[in-house]
């Protein structure tokens, strides 16, 4: 690889890393603002105009708080927990195609850090690793509530990963590839060959299953049982303080961003947008594509928050019921139906 290519890659990685951190930062602000609007309030409005500096104030507060490590906690693992949570949250963005290739001075710049041909498997691997941060943190705290939260997180993630994987299998039958870049490319435009080109129109049930599982995987309400305040104090982060707590909370928002990006890429056409063939400059299409992808991502993040402030939390047995008795059979039925449709119409 040439040096310039390496530099471009590094620049892209830094930019994506910075963007996901900034998006996560402002998700906390957006969450509070949106919650306020749903409840006829105004939300944070003191730090800067409309409270726009609130995330900085929160971050500053987190850094300046006293750092407490309980005497009976397992010191090393106690620190590994949040580090792992934030690490796995951040590396998920590596395979997401952010846009079409840019062409500057005859050089093709792909707006994707790496287009590995098992992109979806990579995402799944990272998502499954994510639960280790929570489990290790909850275990190392040496606290009943933390442990219960960690156990809940683990069993919830395992249960919902199955139906998530099964819903993806149906998608893979349609697309025929595991590469995220390829999947995004297949959904070109909006209308192709007499049907919508976005996967959500080919896999509506699969998308529904996937989004429900995504809520469970990111530990968002109504499946936020690992940290449910009413039962478990703070769940797995009960004993955490200072920036270690900040990392856990931050990882949740980064996860939300990444899973929104994955959903947008897999089901909602990624960087594709309607009438993109009418624009002839490829660079302009690429840039507009990035804008379109981010618009979709923000819509999904908004949806995550909208649901959080609408639906009450599931009871734990209901959660398991839904996961094992409803979602998994539905996902299997979806695979069978997809197979039947494909043999009939192709």
């Amino acid at each position: 690889m040439e040096l310039i290519d390496l530099l471009i890659k590094i620049a892209l990685i830094v930019v994506i890393f910075a963007i996901s951190l900034v998006v996560a930062m402002y998700s906390t602000y957006a969450e509070r603002k949106i919650a306020a609007f749903f409840q006829d309030r105004v939300g944070p409005n003191r730090a800067g105009p409309w409270g726009i500096l609130q995330p900085l104030a929160d971050g500053g507060k987190m850094f300046l708080k006293e750092e407490i490590i309980p005497t009976n906690a397992t010191g090393f693992l106690f620190i590994v927990g949040p580090s792992l949570a934030i690490l796995t949250a951040c590396i998920g963005s590596a395979v997401i195609p952010w846009g079409q290739n840019l062409e500057i001075g005859g050089r093709v710049i792909p707006l994707q850090v790496t287009d590995i041909n098992v992109g979806i498997l990579y995402i799944f691997g990272v998502v499954s690793l994510g639960v280790y941060g929570i489990m290790i943190g909850g275990w190392a705290s040496n606290n009943k509530y933390s442990l219960l939260g960690a156990i809940r997180a683990a069993s919830q993630n395992i249960s919902y990963e199955i139906s998530m994987g099964l819903s993806i299998i149906a998608l893979l039958m349609v697309t025929g590839t595991l590469s995220l870049g390829e999947i995004a490319k297949q959904q070109h435009g909006f209308w192709a060959d007499g049907y919508f080109s976005w996967n959500v129109f080919k896999q509506p049930l699969g998308f529904l299953l996937f989004i429900v599982c995504a809520f469970a995987e990111t530990n968002r309400s109504p499946f936020d049982l690992p940290e449910c305040e009413t039962e478990l104090v703070g769940g797995y982060h009960t004993e955490y303080s200072s920036m270690k707590l900040g990392f856990y909370l931050f990882a949740e928002y980064i996860n939300m961003f990444i899973s929104s990006a994955v959903m947008a890429t897999l089901y909602f056409g990624g960087y594709n947008f309607p009438f993109m063939d009418l624009i002839h400059s490829p660079n302009l299409v690429a840039i507009l594509g990035v804008v379109a992808l981010f618009a979709k991502i923000f819509l999904f993040i908004f949806f995550f928050m909208w649901v959080r402030w609408t639906i009450p939390r599931f009871r734990y047995d209901q959660l398991m019921d839904l996961g094992w008795k409803t979602l998994i059979p539905l996902a299997i039925a979806n695979i069978v139906l997809t197979g039947i449709f494909m043999t009939i119409f192709k």
Binding site: I34, F38, D40, R41, W309, T310
Partner: protein, 165 residues
Amino acid sequence: MESLSNKKKQLEVKPLNFWERAYLPAIAKGLSITMSHFFKKPVTIKYPEEKREFSENFRGMHSLKRDEQGRERCTACGLCALSCPAEAITMQAAERQKGEENLYREEKYAAVYEINMLRCIFCGLCEEACPKEAIYLDGDIVPSDYLRKDFIYGKDKLVEAPLNQ
């Protein structure tokens, strides 16, 4: 037995139908309700900048009134202190000297007049008891402070500002 009010209604528990068990229509309905609130005007009053108007009979901080010529009306009769159920009011009377007729309306006046705002329950009985129409609870909310002693308001805080000054 028939109930007396005749309002008794027998409810029956029906098993949930398919759509109710599927849970999704209920979620969609809930989402539409929250979305309708999203566009409503917030009810928040941003307090230090905006203030809600008090009702007409709001009882706030006390003020000791002056008459048309700017003389203090209070004659230190002590009826307000006597009527106060919380025993928040205390005063010391003094005799008006020659040359002070433009300051005090009556021959006797309150040299010290203190209300402990932590004791006061803002019932307004002092206002009703006053024969000289000298005390009214027509002020703002009593501001917060750090020390208990700072809540004992003397004449410097209670007496109305003098006329034309």
